[in-house]
Each structure stands twice: as C-alpha cells, then as structure tokens.
C-alpha cells in the first residue's frame, strides 16, 4: 500500500476554490463580529442597565453554547417555525453572532485602554457618539487587542470547516466529497491540512495588512 498523490491532483483546483470560500466566510463573519463586538463593548461600558443586561444575555448565550449547536439551531430548528435559511446564510449568521459575542468580551478589555483625555477632546470637538467610537476608541481598541483579535480570526478561519456539516462547499466539505469518491483519505487529508496551514498564514498576513493600513498597528505576523 503506497501513497499516490498523483491520483488526487484532479481535486486540487476544487480544493483551492474551497479554501477561498473558507477565507471569505471567515473574513465576512469576523468583520461582522468585530462591528457587533465594538457596539457590544461600547454598550457594556457606557450603556444604561437594560442595554447592558441585553448585551450580557447575548454574550452569555453565545459563549456558553457550542458554535456547532448554534448553527444547527439556525439550520435545522428554524425551519420548524417556517424560516428556511440557505446553508451559507445559516453559517454566516451563526458564525457572525458567535464571533460578535466573543469579540464583545475581547474588545471590552480594549475600552479601558482609551485615555480619558482623548474622550474629553472628542467631546470638546463635538464628535457624535459614532464618530467617537470610530475615530477615537476603535484605533485604541484594535491596537491594544491586536494579538487577541488575530488569534480569534485564525480560530474562525479553521472553524469554517464546520460549515461542511451544513452543506457549504468549503475546503473540508470538498475534501469529504473527494474522500468518499476516491477513498484516498491519507493523501486528501494531508494535503488539506497543509492547505489549512497556508490559509492560516494568508489570514494572518491579511490581518497584519489591515492593522497596518487602518490603525497603524506595529505587529509581527510570525
């Protein structure tokens, strides 16, 4: 019994499309989660108590239950109420809400790193609440939390493999299809593992670029 990597070359273009899909899902859900997290953290820091209670409930619910169960609920339980989400919609909503909850927790820590003087300055300049969040708070939050945020993004990129269960054809889904057809499990899963490593490197690089351009974060990728 020998390994025949030549036999799985035909699947590589298909796997690459799946890898792009994984990157795209993680990117979209992370961006959405980042925004939710920003407002969630702002609400927890500056909000009135009913808002704080609502945000806390949301965060608890999503951080105390497995993500798989959350997406399963969106995909298989909502149809019982007559709401049928497409596979990709269910996965994106599920991953975004889950990321939003975790990132609320993470970003909240960053809010403490905003100097009071800058907030006072923003108020003096007549910034609106939204302008203050975007121009004053966000850069501090991102800079302070850059390591935590990037590791969460990497976790999300690898976590996209869960989407395969719900019929999304990302990298793991396509690997499972190829595996069922060709039985070349060792070759397929070893190639896919390498592709996930490459994906992680690409994800880190993307994050580094975004951090550098938008918020002038000085961080190392490796």
């Amino acid at each position: 019994m020998t390994l025949q990597y030549g036999q799985i070359l035909q699947y590589l273009p298909d796997f690459l499309l799946g890898a792009l899909m994984a990157l795209w899902i993680a990117g979209l859900a992370f961006a959405g989660g980042l925004l939710i997290g920003l407002f969630g953290a702002a609400a927890l820091t500056y909000g009135a108590w009913p808002l704080r209670a609502a945000v806390t409930a949301y965060v608890r619910f999503f951080t105390y239950t497995p993500q798989l169960v959350q997406i399963f609920f969106l995909f298989f339980a909502l149809p019982e109420a007559g709401i049928i989400l497409s596979p990709i919609t269910a996965v994106l909503i599920g991953m975004t809400l889950n990321a939003g909850a975790y990132l609320t927790e993470i970003e909240r820590a960053g809010f403490t790193s905003v100097p009071q003087a800058e907030l006072d300055a923003a108020e003096t300049l007549g910034f609106s609440r939204l302008q203050t969040i975007w121009y004053v708070i966000a850069p501090h939050v991102v800079r302070a939390l850059y390591p935590a945020l990037s590791s969460h993004y990497i976790i999300m990129t690898l976590g996209t493999s869960m989407a395969a269960i719900f019929g999304v054809e990302e990298l793991t889904g396509r690997a499972l299809n190829a595996n069922a057809i060709s039985f070349r499990s060792v070759e397929i899963f070893s190639v896919v593992a390498v592709m996930y490593i490459v994906l992680t490197i690409i994800a880190s690089t993307l994050l580094w670029l975004v951090g550098r351009w938008l918020f002038r974060v000085k961080a190392k990728v490796f």
């Binding site: 019994m1 298989f76 149809p79 019982e80 049928i84 499990s185 060792v186």
Partner: protein, 271 residues
C-alpha cells in the same frame, strides 16, 4: 464534541497514524494464527449496521461478518467505523475487512480490493407525496431549476444528477438523518440514492414519502480488504460463494428488509 467532529478527528488521526508507515495488512496466515478477524462496521446505516437495544453493533453486515468468522473458524471482533474513517482504518491495519454498503467503483478499486459481490443496491428517487416545488412523478421531473435535491456527500446519486438532472439545485450534507430532516422540513424536494440506504431510516420521519418505481441503476457491493491482501480476499470469495449458495445471504437480507434483493446476485462459481 459532536459525532461529526469525532468522526473527522478519527479520520485525521487514522490518517496521521497511517502516514509514517502504511501498515501492511495481516495476511490470511496471521488472521488464522491469531484466530481473530477484525471487521469494520458502520452502525449508522440501518439496517446494514445499527446499534441494537443492548447498544451492541448489529444488523445485516454484523450477521454476515459473524457467519464469515464462523465458517473460517476464527473469532469475530467488530470495530465501529464511520464513512470518513473506514478506509484509513483499513490502511492502518486496524481492521482486516470493511463492510457498510461500499459500492464498487473504479476509483475505489484503485485503493482497496473487493471480494465478489455480497449484495446489490438499486438507485431510486426518494421524494414526498406532497409539498414539493414541482410535482415529481418520474426521474425526468428532477431536471428543473425549481427542484432542490439533497444528497449525502460522495454517494452514487451525485454523478447521476450531474448527468441527468443538471438543472436541479443540490445541497450536500454529511449523513442520512440530516438529509431526511432537510426533506421533511421542506428544505429539499427529493434525493437520489440507493433504496437500501433509505427505506428503513426514512420511517423515523413523519412524512408521506414516495419512492418512484424506476430503478435508475444497480450497484454491486463487495467486502473491502487492504490493497494486495489477496490471501485473505481469495478465501473470503469462497466463503461468500458458499454463503450465497446456502441461501444465508438472501435469508439474512429478507430478515432485515422484509423483501428479497431488488437486483438478485446471479449464482456464479467463477471469480
């Protein structure tokens, strides 16, 4: 950890263990000297493989494996496998034979060796009596942009759909229960698969099912052994021939399905 995650971890773990040295299969002599035959059976494919009320693996495949072991005068050890990890288990020499509706295809025959056929499968269209996007009365009705199909990944219906119902929308899911649920909930209108995989489990869903009469294709299912393990495979062929001749295979089939095989296995002493 969900069953899905566990299975994939197993597949990866099995693949990882197989990487350093793809363990050579135990030839017949070792099976006989250890007096132990290890059979990989998937218990999530009722009635081929299932958990009985004592939570032990049972079903058609288990009965067949027990009879093979009895005729070879060895002890049977049943090893639980899932779809993604069953072949790595074989490659890593954790099992000697693998059952579980492994349809014989050229791609797979390049990787494992098959015995003579154990049973056949008949591909049909499973749909619902009511509530589909368009009425589905013949297989040709599937070739319609409004039709949503749901399939288990890598099953034989997928190439048929690509060739005959390319217009339909297809969602691929990981296992049969998820596919039946998707059909029951109205996420999909039909599924193209072998009747043997769907007739029993679909009863667990409160839906008016409809199986179209036309058999789209017949498939042959053998028992898998590691590539090149001809000493074991040659014996299994003789054992299976005798099990067909004595009627054991057909009797066991009817015990689990209640009807004879749709496409009978011709009686063939040559292999």
């Amino acid at each position: 950890m969900s069953a899905f995650d566990r299975r994939h971890l197993f597949a990866l773990a099995a693949a990882a263990t197989a990487l350093p040295a793809l363990a050579e299969a135990r030839p017949l002599a070792e099976v006989l000297s250890s007096r132990r035959l290890r059979a990989g059976i998937n218990p999530t494919l009722p009635p081929m493989g299932l958990f009985n009320e004592r939570n032990q693996i049972d079903g058609f495949d288990a009965d067949i494996a027990r009879e093979i072991a009895r005729r070879m005068n060895v002890e049977l050890e049943i090893v639980q496998v899932g779809s993604p990890d069953r072949i790595p288990f074989l490659q890593a020499d954790r099992i000697d034979i693998v059952l579980g509706s492994i349809t014989r295809t050229v791609e797979r025959a390049l990787v494992i060796d098959y015995t003579v056929p154990l049973h056949t499968q008949s591909m049909v269209v499973l749909t619902k009596a009511t509530g589909t996007a368009v009425p589905i009365n013949t297989p040709a009705d599937l070739n319609n942009r409004a039709v949503r199909l749901v399939q288990v990944r890598g099953t034989v219906g997928i190439p048929w759909i690509q060739a005959n119902a390319a217009q339909a929308q297809v969602t691929l899911l990981d296992n049969y229960p998820d596919c039946f649920r998707a059909l029951a909930q109205g996420r999909a209108d039909a599924m193209v698969d072998v009747a043997e995989s769907v007739v029993i489990p679909m009863r667990n869903f409160p839906v008016q099912w409809k199986i179209l009469d036309q058999v789209l294709a017949s498939f042959w299912v053998g028992i898998g052994v590691q590539k090149g393990n001809s000493s074991l495979r040659d014996v299994l062929n003789v054992v299976l021939f005798e099990m067909h001749r004595s009627g054991f295979v057909n009797t066991t089939w009817e015990k689990y399905f209640g009807t004879p095989m749709t496409t009978p296995i011709p009686f063939n002493p040559m292999f």
